[in-house]
């Protein structure tokens, strides 16, 4: 055969073979449709039991979004937004989605433990012993020697502690969170108080506006109530029933919020107040009439030269602001976290007076107080925390209870919280996760995870209606944990006397009932019930209680434009040549680093995962001889960090930025020893409202010669030298 098998025959056969292979492997249409066979029925096509759904409240930040959690066979499977909830209308952010990775986190504190401070290994104690320990701590010390430090969630616990302190004389609970530090909440409410004569949380109706000027407010990331503000942003952009709204962001580094802006104005850090007042003056001149006193002192040309924004641009912006029927100006974040932050906040709020938008759609309001709230409360500023830390260091606090906050990590290292802890005789942590503060405590009596907990959260930053968002356990506790409220009630009974009188409850649920019972007599609630059991059943079913009426209040703006506003530039601490901007990671925020899927979410602007980077303008990097992934040493007056470079095209050449959210030394396997904490570079400098001037530092950069490749989602072609023949 072989001698007759010509080359031509071979090619023919090969051709037939190739054609038949093509048919069999499915280049033809036959492959497009197949009938699924029973043996490959996947779970996707089967019934795998019925799910049960429970309404509760997200505790990943203080906003208080409503959740509906799908559970199956006693396990929590998926969180969704509660569609009825007035704050988030069925939506969630990434952190709300990943809350399940907190619930089933492999590193939770599983039992109550007693430990030598700083030693991760501890001995398990019983809950009876734990309760006795808390009772002894309450009973054996003077009331003024007992302090509670809380996070910004779990409002029901805050109420319990407030009642306890009112009746027993122990110190009132102090609340703190790194998010509220970076939001500069104290500055915002102080500015409102100065301008409107009333302390409160301003609410900005982004959705109703036509032109939004934001000065450093990262309201699409973590600021105040991101889900609600994102919905507002979608309303601003909506272009079917109205003109598409315009959004302008002023900040030295393009945040992912600024990435959505029509114009990003990289002003020189510290000149925000000048720019605001200059726009105010130019807009007032365009509108005609006498020049308001608030804007009289500023020279627009001077503001333009100092800020680096051209005068023509300022004029064009002022025209846009003055001519719009729905202009809105928002102060926030980095603009307020400077030595002149209060002046910036006042100037921005005053700018709204030109638009005359107070109490109007698309304007500025005061948030409504929540249903069972009698006055506006805010978390402590860093300056107030400094007084707290000083009392610890001076030995004035002998017992410290910590719940829902990790001050060793969240306060800047320069606050020296860790050292001050050493002067406190007894530290009791209620941490759910083994964080740095729990590691420095004598006892850890773990609270349940949020999804295993009762409680409520007041919605004070994003809703027009007064909302009390309710929590209930969606699954039974996975570990041997116990609700802190239950521990305190039991301990108070054991301690007896005024403590027992202050907390005369059987358990946490009875306490909750006592706190929401007053709502039954309210007339404008979206449900009513004749007795407390029915009320609680509805409260759990709907995920809280809220009024059907818009209860936002209108600020008293009579004097706003008649005040003297100061446009002084901010002062910067430290020697270096670069302005330093720490910003909260939009995906991790203050406590997301222990959730593996949050770690694997790419940062919206850089696409970096699992680590910390420093953003440097490519031109600056070139001058310093820096490439991507080069590790640099950053020195401020307060500390030193080593961190890899990300050449970021949208940052001023004289500014560098580092995200906050990594750099833990404890807090579980996904968080510990990963990245750095930019708060280590922050010194103790404050603005007039007592907020930390976190954006008021100058730093130095030095090349170290080391490399640390960052994981990033964007193409790695060329990034690690891949494809360029120069692999590192």
């Amino acid at each position: 055969m072989s001698d007759k098998f010509s080359r031509r025959d071979f090619l023919k056969l090969a051709g037939v073979g190739a054609a038949s292979t093509a048919i069999l492997t499915g280049c033809g249409p036959a492959s497009r449709y197949v009938t699924r066979e029973p043996y490959m029925l996947m779970p996707e096509y089967n019934y795998n039991g019925q799910s049960t759904f429970y309404a509760t409240t997200c505790r990943e930040c203080a906003a208080g979004c409503g959740l509906v959690v799908r559970t199956s066979q006693g396990r929590a499977i998926k969180t969704e937004g509660n569609a009825n909830h007035p704050l988030n209308l069925g939506k969630t952010c990434a952190r709300g989605q990943a809350t399940l990775h907190g619930l089933y986190n492999p590193d939770r504190v599983t039992d109550p433990i007693k430990r030598t401070r700083g030693n991760a290994a501890g001995t398990t104690v019983t809950w009876d012993d734990a309760t006795q320990t808390v009772a002894d701590a309450l009973k054996n010390y003077k009331p003024e020697e007992i302090a509670f430090l809380m996070g910004t969630t779990s409002d029901h616990l805050f109420d319990l502690l407030t009642d306890l302190s009112a009746q027993t004389g122990i110190n009132s609970p102090v609340r703190f969170g790194a998010l509220s530090m970076f939001e500069a909440r104290a500055t915002l409410s102080k500015a409102a108080e100065n301008l409107f004569g009333e302390a409160g949380m301003p609410l900005f109706d982004v959705g109703g506006a036509q032109v939004v000027f934001s000065f450093g407010a990262n309201f699409l990331e973590t600021w105040l109530s991101p889900v609600s503000y994102t919905r507002g942003f979608a309303g601003l952009r909506e272009a079917q029933s109205k003109k598409r709204g315009t959004f302008i962001q002023f900040e030295s580094r393009m945040s992912s919020t600024a990435g959505k802006a029509d114009e990003w104005l990289p002003l020189r850090p510290g000149t925000e107040a000048l720019v605001v007042l200059a726009i105010g003056r130019l807009a007032s001149e365009l509108r005609g009439g006498p020049l308001p006193r608030a804007f009289a002192d500023v020279d627009p040309a001077d503001a333009a030269s100092k800020s680096g924004i051209k005068l023509e641009t300022l004029e064009h912006l002022a025209e846009m602001f003055a001519n719009s029927t729905g202009a809105l100006a928002i102060p926030g974040g980095t603009a307020l976290g400077q030595s002149n932050g209060l002046a910036v906040a006042e100037a921005v709020l005053a700018l709204n007076a030109i638009a005359d938008n107070f109490g109007k759609p698309g304007g500025v309001f005061f948030s409504a107080l929540a249903p069972n709230q009698t006055e506006y409360q805010r978390s402590a500023s860093v300056k107030e925390m400094q007084e707290f830390v000083q009392k610890m260091a001076d030995g004035k606090f002998k017992v410290l209870f910590v719940h829902g906050v990790n001050p060793v990590f969240e306060l800047p290292a320069s606050s020296d919280f860790k050292n001050a802890l050493k002067s406190v005789e007894q530290v009791i942590s209620f941490a759910t996760f083994p964080d740095e503060t729990a590691l420095e405590a004598d006892y850890v009596f773990p609270d349940h995870h949020a999804l295993e907990s009762w409680g409520y959260q007041r919605v004070v930053t994003g809703s027009a209606q007064p909302v009390l968002s309710g929590s209930q356990p969606v699954v039974s506790p996975f570990y041997n944990t116990r609700a802190t409220v239950d521990v305190l009630i039991a301990a108070a009974q054991l301690a007896g006397g005024k403590f027992a009188e202050a907390l005369p409850f059987k358990d946490e649920v009875e306490f909750l009932q006592s706190k929401v019972a007053s709502l039954m007599s309210e007339t404008d609630g979206f449900f009513a019930a004749p007795d407390i059991n029915t009320f609680m059943a509805y409260f759990q079913q709907y995920g809280g209680w809220w009024k059907t009426t818009d209860a936002r209040t209108i600020p008293n703006t009579a004097d706003v434009l008649n005040r003297n506003l100061v446009g002084a530039e901010a002062e910067f601490a430290g020697e270096g040549e670069f302005f330093f901007v720490p910003f909260v990671s939009p995906t991790l925020a203050e406590a997301g680093a222990n959730k593996p899927w949050l770690q694997e979410l790419p940062d919206p602007t850089t696409t970096v995962m699992w680590n910390t980077w420093v953003e440097i303008n490519p031109e600056t990097a070139h001058e310093l001889g820096l490439e991507d992934d080069d590790v640099v040493k950053i020195t401020s007056e307060a500390g030193v960090l080593e961190v890899p470079v990300y050449r970021y095209p949208a940052i001023r050449p004289d500014t560098i930025a580092i995200p906050f959210g990594q750099g833990y030394t404890a807090y579980g396997q996904y968080a510990a020893n990963r990245g750095v904490n930019p708060a280590d570079l922050l010194g103790q400098h404050f603005n007039e409202a007592g907020d930390l001037a976190f954006a008021g530092m100058k730093v130095k950069i030095e090349k170290t010669g080391k490399k640390q490749p960052l994981s990033r989602l964007e193409s790695i072609m060329g990034v690690y030298g891949v494809g360029l023949g120069e692999e590192h």
Binding site: T25, G26, C27, S31, R32, Y33, M40, M42, P43, E44, Y45, G49, R75, I77, E80, G81, G90, K91, T92, C93, A94, Q97, A98, L100, H101, L103, Y104, L220, P226, T230, R231, F233, A234, R237, E238, M254, G259, K260, W264, P266, P586, T587, W597, E600, L601, P602, P604, T605, M609, W610, N611, P618, P649, A650, I651, R652, P653, S711, R712, L713
Partner: protein, 241 residues
């Protein structure tokens, strides 16, 4: 050889389920990415593997840079996921019939237990939305408690991608059938669309002209990515701005 314009004209290539994504309001917040991971039992791969481009996102947010400082702009965030092409380039190259077109749902299916891991499909996908399980990625206990029982847990050597939450489609269809009715528009949606705080993602029936997704798609300024390849995607984008 079928030319793209011929495919467009063919009536049998009208899709069933589709999506409209408004890039003008997408803030890039990653809520959809997290929601997708939680719904679909997607593994996290850790720092090293994600650095090698092995992360398993079924949906990702793309952003590009235009211009240079100070005139630099971020392009509108672009959520990229399987486009559920009516004429998918991944399908004909699979030697194991693991990635096939479903007649019933008009979707591009991935049959995990047929997949032998040749990665031809991933190679041939112009949208680069398929991800391959390079390892059995660790999921330390008790994280497995969170796994969705309605979704297959994939193992090493298997290709995977967005399914338009087919488990949700089936649940809704079976429920409607049991109640003797059609699935109502908006009765259910995909995990990404459900989470999106800006409501930038809309999912529904593209063959029903009354559905919200069809109404949106007909607004006129929508575009389909890489349309010139003739893949006939079922996802429409509004560039916005």
């Amino acid at each position: 050889m079928i030319r793209p314009e011929e495919i467009k004209m063919s009536a049998e290539h009208v899709g069933k389920w589709g999506m409209v994504i408004d890039q003008d309001i997408c803030t890039g917040c990653q809520a959809c990415v997290a929601a997708c991971a939680m719904e679909n039992n997607i593994s996290f791969v850790g720092e090293k593997d994600s650095g090698y481009g092995r992360s398993m996102h079924w949906i990702r947010i793309e952003r590009f840079w235009e211009g240079e400082y100070p005139e630099v702009k971020m392009t509108p965030n672009q959520p990229m996921l399987c486009q559920q092409c009516n004429s998918a380039t991944c399908e004909p190259v699979c030697p194991a019939f693991a990635t096939v077109h479903s007649q019933a749902e008009q979707l591009n299916l991935q049959i995990y237990n047929r997949c032998v891991g040749t990665r031809y499909c991933g190679n041939n996908c112009p949208y680069q939305v398929r991800s391959f399980n390079w390892r059995d990625y660790e999921r330390p206990e008790p994280l497995s408690n969170q796994l969705n029982p309605d979704v297959t847990v994939r193992r090493m050597g298997v290709m995977e991608k967005c399914t338009f939450c087919i488990q949700r489609i089936h649940k809704a269809q079976d429920k409607a059938k049991a109640e003797g009715r059609e699935v109502v528009d908006g009765e259910f949606t995909t995990a990404c669309a459900q989470a999106c705080p800006a409501s930038a993602i809309t999912f529904g029936r593209v063959d029903d002209p009354e559905s919200l997704v069809s109404q949106l798609a007909q607004r006129g300024h929508g575009l389909k990515h890489l349309e010139e390849l003739g893949t006939l995607p079922n996802v429409t984008y509004f560039k916005g701005g």
